[in-house]
């Protein structure tokens, strides 16, 4: 149970949310959107790697 990955994702989420607010207030909607997108892509790439690993384990255990 690698809890640090969960804290990493939470940290990225919070940073992206704060940056989004700051950029929105500075009247730069496009950049705020870009920052949110970038944060989401990094988070999802981490999660997808773990999901692939989990599905490989299931395939090897159950012979799917």
């Amino acid at each position: 149970m690698e809890i640090d990955l969960i804290f990493k994702i939470a940290a990225i989420g919070i940073i992206v949310a704060v940056l989004n607010q700051v950029l929105a207030k500075a009247d730069r909607q496009e950049q705020a959107m870009m920052v949110t997108l970038a944060g989401l892509v990094t988070v999802l790439s981490m999660v997808v790697a773990r999901i692939a690993q989990l599905f490989e384990t299931i395939q090897s255990v159950f012979g799917l």
Binding site: A17, N20, V43, V47, I58
Partner: protein, 128 residues
Amino acid sequence: MNIIALAGGAIAAGMLAQLLRRTNPEAAGALAVCAGVLLFGGVLTEAIPVLMEAETWLRDAGAKNPWITILLKCLGTCLVVQFAADCCRDVGEYALAGRVEFAGKAAVAVLSMPMFRAVLKLALELLA
């Protein structure tokens, strides 16, 4: 199988997901799915000896080899489908979860077709 760590991790992930829910919903969904993956992966690697033991019991009970592989495949399919459906529900896609569950039911039905045929043949022999 440190159940305390698993439970604590799940609660922490839940709280963090709740924290992110308002400001950054996508990250909250991703965090919930990631916590599910870690918890499930952690438990699965611990549960492998249990499966091996169950397999030997089945073999001792006289079950033929193809039946055991069908049983294990159906179990694996159900686990994967349950996980995918719960992840879809977690991020709010209820219809998608229903579709995944339907696909899982179809896959299990296809997988266990030989077993149905054998049971039917056995029944017909008993009747005839």
